[in-house]
Symmetry: C2
Subunit: 305 residues, 2 copies
């Protein structure tokens, strides 16, 4: 089994590093920090920024929790063979989770999560991903975002970008709206060892994903934070945020895991937007930037060629 | 089997009646009306009011849908014996669903749903309920609301109010916040015939619930629409609305049913608030009206003695 204390320690350092970089990029607000304990085992450090110059609301959360393994952790296949013993299994999960809602509709929302998971039967894996949710899809930024993630992946495995980009398209999908949450990114789960990549090599890839976050987002902030906008863009931002809330409350597995394992509610739901709007039957005007954005919230768009 | 066309026709009339009464109470805005078809069978009429004098956003929806019965319709017990035949079963569901978000934080949010359900194997039942979500719990209004529902119930069965009030407390509960959505009301499901009440008698009770809606809510509007408020109350209203959105997206079975049976999204999600706020770790001030309201968002409060 990997050294989980070492992984958790690295994640805590990553949290510090990212908060410090984001404070510099914001230029005004500072992160608060709250330590919390989970009654059933473990705890975390929630760091939140609010009402900044750039960041309206966001969190960079570290957690390391453990306890009895909930049955939904098992895949269908595992379930049939392991459910009898499930009651005796314990799990350990540690990760860093980030969601940032910028004040300006011209700056994208971003999400990152990297996590390490293990069960007392020896099963263990890495998961993670970064995805971007621009209120307005700017194609140059979208290419930069995907190209940078591709570079991170390509350093480790020639298939990872293609595979994990597809996984992100499928995962960050608001089925009932038939639209993706944003322009995707990469997403992977249950990564262990394969014929070509040892767990340790995957651990290095996984750390590189974590380290890619701050430079990517500060670049996107700096590119867009001074772009002018009006009420129209702000109203659209509130609508896109409501779709973000729908995804997180209806589909997101991390949120579900947190709610079902009695996690700290305010840390789990820090991902929800500071303000969001639901209009009945809203339709963007023909040929508007809003309509163009909707047309790009689809699976399978190739941003790297 | 009951005459489902007659029930659906009655529900359509109820929709008209309620919209007309709400337009009078609002005094400004009118309901729009949209007919929609469900590709898999059936359809509905969505009626929506927006930006009124009293009502900021709300819907009074009628639907009558049918098709292959989704497996989640079966109870655990039924599931084991019926899952083999589930593929061949069809369902029919007709109902009226209402959620109204008032502009003023001093006027409560209200919800009603009454529905009739049947399956091709002859199983059929009635369900429904009315519940109230005041942004600020006013105890006089809460008593009026529960007392009126009790009178409706008592006309038909001496146990219904007690049983269905408890059911509402349990159902309209935001588990992850450990708070009820509002002050409850009544909720019932799978009501058919019992030793003391025939289906036809329950149908009359069910219709009485539907008819109670308009007088109850217009009374609550008239009592509160002219009450003064400031930014503080509006901010709190946005927070309470975000809890409403959480309940509907995470727990509500009607929403889940709609999303899983490919219902019309805008009709299902008309229940979501026009604007909602999520602050990180919001705590009301000690001894504030907001704190008092939170203290009353608990199960098991007796409002009728």
């Amino acid at each position: 089994m990997p050294n989980r204390e070492e992984i958790a320690k690295w994640l805590k350092e990553l949290q510090k590093h990212i908060c410090s970089e984001l404070e510099k990029a914001d230029g005004e607000a500072l992160f608060t920090s709250e330590e919390w304990q989970r009654p059933e085992g473990g705890g975390g450090i929630s760091r939140v920024i609010q009402n900044g110059n750039v960041l309206e609301k966001g969190g960079v959360n570290f957690s390391a929790v453990h306890g009895a393994a909930p049955s939904f952790l098992f895949t269908e296949k595992e379930h049939s063979t392991q459910k009898e013993t499930a009651n005796n299994l314990t799990f350990y999960a540690t990760g860093v989770s980030i969601v940032l809602h910028p004040k300006s509709p011209m700056v994208p929302i971003i999400h990152m999560n990297i996590r390490y998971f293990e069960m007392s039967n020896g099963v263990h894996w890495l998961g993670g991903g970064i995805d971007l949710t621009p209120h307005y899809v700017n194609e140059t930024d979208a290419k930069f975002f995907h190209q940078t993630l591709k570079q991170v992946c390509d350093k480790h495995n020639p298939n990872y970008y293609t595979d994990y980009k597809k996984w992100a398209d499928d995962y960050f999908f608001i089925k009932h709206r038939n639209e993706t949450r944003g322009i995707g990114g990469i997403f992977f789960d249950r990564l262990n060892a394969s014929s070509e990549m040892s767990f340790d090599k995957n651990l290095i890839f996984w750390k590189d994903v974590g380290m890619a976050f701050a430079p990517i987002y500060t670049e996107l902030i700096n590119r867009n934070k001074n772009n002018a906008f009006t009420e129209t863009e702000t109203e659209w931002q509130l609508i896109r945020r409501s779709r973000y809330a729908e995804f997180n409350l209806v589909y997101d597995k991390g949120t579900k895991f947190g709610l079902e394992t009695n996690g700290r509610i305010e840390s789990i739901l820090m991902s929800l937007p500071p303000l969001a709007a639901w209009h009945y039957n809203y339709m963007p005007k023909a040929n508007s930037p809003e309509e163009k954005t909707l047309s790009l919230l689809k699976k399978g768009i190739n941003w790297v060629d």
